[in-house]
């Protein structure tokens, strides 16, 4: 998910960063020139052959190894092809390539697919068609906005030079191939297990424009939830003096509003922050026989934010219910964390459960949460969610 910042433009390791800067050096870097693509001339492009030769010379390695390094650069999206953009391979010939370090496409996947649909008259690939219809259902109420944006961008792009258009299209295609890989394709963004105690606080940023992109995405996502900007349904109580909006969005309602249920899908934190969302998630976990995870997490929160005087008592309860061998609601924590926690419990303090709590939190976030969003329980909730009628302003 882009919003988490788990993206190659955000987590760029130093050796790769140095390599790309070196490749781009105007004097000593890879030869950049106008490359011919059929009848169009693309400026500032390199050939696959040039990349390989440069790597061989720079690192003093053989062709085979250079081919491998080059292939990784394309696989991970640092360099993208202008010819056959669907195929992320490095061809050691005259095929043109470019660096993907300029700003990534600003188009949310829905708009990207909508554009393709319009341009290619419905000739999307099978998995793209599927995603298109899923997205359509998910953001149904803003679909007109999506199509309008897509049309607007296509219109604007028609005014660009053909060379620019080709570059942008290939860039975008490569970007989405990496960030939304087709089913079955290798997901290069899979970073393995979340590292909880990451000691490097300041992360390498190769391209700050990507972080800007995240702000744009966040505000787009929450736009319809921002009453000062978009209004709210049925009306803003402060303007209409009608409290219906608050009644419909009370903590406990028989039927939550559509915006509210949608918001649970924005992030795990959003789901947990809504007491109703949390209850729904608990119901789901019960069906999966993993409700103890959420109960454990809540109990740990209670320790962290509760009174000093009750810490020992609460930690003892947690041990009895969740950690002791044969406990009624035993939680599955890795042995290293478990050992560390059990050791810490001997001298309980406010933060003694932190490691275990984070482990379970990320387990739920990475595993149960995404499955919950795909479940019938959530889908039904979304389907019967209420969209209030707008009441006319006074």
């Amino acid at each position: 998910e882009l919003r988490n910042g788990k993206n190659l433009y955000f987590l760029l390791y130093k050796p790769i960063y140095l390599l790309i800067v070196a490749m781009q050096d105007p004097d000593m870097g890879v030869k950049m020139r106008n490359q011919r693509l059929l009848i169009t001339v693309i400026p500032h492009a390199m050939t696959g052959r040039d990349i390989i030769d440069w790597l061989i010379q720079k690192y003093n390695i053989c062709e085979e190894e250079a081919l491998h390094v080059g292939a990784m650069l394309v696989r991970y999206g640092y360099v993208y092809p202008l010819k056959e953009p669907r195929s992320l391979v490095l061809r050691p010939d005259e095929s043109p390539y470019r660096f993907q370090v300029s700003q990534p496409p600003l188009h949310p996947p829905a708009i990207y697919l909508a554009k393709k649909n319009i341009r290619k008259q419905g000739e999307l690939m099978e998995y793209e068609k599927e995603r298109y219809s899923v997205l359509h259902k998910r953001i149904n109420h803003t679909w007109d906005f999506v199509v309008m944006q897509a049309r607007e961008q296509l219109r604007a792009s028609k005014q660009r030079r053909k060379a620019d258009r080709i570059v942008l299209e290939c860039q975008e295609q490569a970007y989405w191939l990496i960030n939304r890989p087709p089913p079955g394709a290798h997901n290069v963004l899979d970073m393995g297990l979340e590292r909880i105690n990451n000691s490097s606080r300041v992360t390498l940023v190769s391209d700050i424009t990507f972080l800007y992109f995240l702000f744009v995405k966040y505000s787009e996502q929450y736009l319809n939830h921002d009453p000062i900007m978009q209004g709210c349904l049925p009306s803003n109580p402060w303007i209409s003096d009608d409290t219906a909006h608050w009644t419909m969005n009370a903590e406990v309602v028989p039927s939550p509003t559509r915006l509210r249920v949608e918001r649970w899908s924005f992030s795990f934190m959003e789901l947990l922050n809504d007491s109703m969302g949390r209850r729904e998630f608990m119901t789901y976990l019960e069906k999966e026989f993993s409700a103890e995870n959420l109960c454990f997490w809540q109990a740990c929160e209670d320790v962290r934010h509760g009174e000093n005087s009750r810490i020992i008592e609460k930690v003892e309860d947690i041990y009895k219910n969740f950690l002791a061998p044969g406990a009624a609601r035993w939680v599955n924590i890795d042995s290293k964390t478990m050992d560390k926690t059990l050791h810490g419990i001997r001298h309980p303090h406010r933060f003694v459960m932190d490691d275990a709590q984070m482990h379970i939190y990320f387990l739920m976030k990475k595993d149960s949460y995404p499955r919950y969003l795909k479940s019938d329980l959530y889908k039904n909730m979304l389907a019967k969610a209420v969209v209030p009628q707008e009441t006319k302003k006074r």
Partner: protein, 395 residues
Amino acid sequence: MCDQTFLAATFGPCDSCGKASPLMNIYIKNDAINYCSFCMEVMACQGLQSGETLASLKKESDSLKKKLEEERGKLNDIELHQVAEKVEMLGALSIKTKRLLKGHGNKVLCMDWCKDKRRLVSSSQDGKVIVWDAFTLNKEHGVTLPCTWVMACAYAPSGCAVACGGLDNKCSVFPLSLDKNENLSAKKKAVAMHTNYVSGCTFTNSDMQLLTSSGDGTCALWDVESGQLLQSFHGHTADVLSLDLAPSETGNTFVSGGSDKKANVWDMRSGQNIQSFESHESDINCVKYYPSGDAFASASDDSTCRFYDLRADREVAVYQKDSVIFGASTVDFSLSGRLLFAGYNDYTINVWDVLKGTRVSVLFGHENRVSRVRVSPDGTALCSASWDNTLRIWA
């Protein structure tokens, strides 16, 4: 930690002194070097040996600066507002005063919303603390503190208590009784004790912990029940004027701003200062997190508001205008983070487009300084408190 004059692109051991710090990665004659800011300056001065003139030293330092700018350019040739160029322009906003809360006899210094989205607590210069149902304008509770200048007040997450403090150097917690006749002052519990005025306070995720900032230059975390100091935060070199808790999923950090022009990010568990930003030219009066928790905004006496990204460890936008010449005292984001509301000493509230950096609206109405602005928990309204003794609800 964050030097104004160069951008930290990486963090690690300096090639020259070996100290772990933010590093600049540049190429000098095709060699990659990674120096911290201090060593970078030293290297620039290295030319000054016997016979070396100031002119040649300047030439060397200029060429180094140019190389640094080139590298910086490679990283940052695009600004936030440029990336946001493709984003739709905001339509004209129609925001008007919808409620006028009169009742304080003196300057209103602070306010905070209740989680129920309609109640709020406000505090003033004459020691009065009032709890309102802002929707009906009903005053539900009133307390008079024995001190003046109650600069800080906060509503407890449960809605059952409020905290307030100021010139008495303390922060006290009052339970809110349903019994109107009950004397709230009698139930007051002093929780925080500083050695100078309390400038800001907030409950953490429960009613049980209180975070305070003070004119004594520190912030502190307290156990409400016992009044015990759980953690103190040292690092500011002058009065701390504001703080805000991060809305992160692990809930462990907060940001503070002070008269030393610094905004510091703290780890609540260890008490450590993990990040620091110094780009304002005067006191920072207010700090507030962006809704996602990845960034925060600040308001300063230098008449600007700024936006800092925590991941990039730098300032990413400045909100300023030639016609805005008075200090900014308070900021808050709209629910989506697209709008930034800022209150100024010229009695106005400016509304900024966070992404594009432009001002989209000015809210006139107050007849004296705006001391505090806060968007309601569901984003339906903005509340402003002012030295004109009133509070306004805007929507």
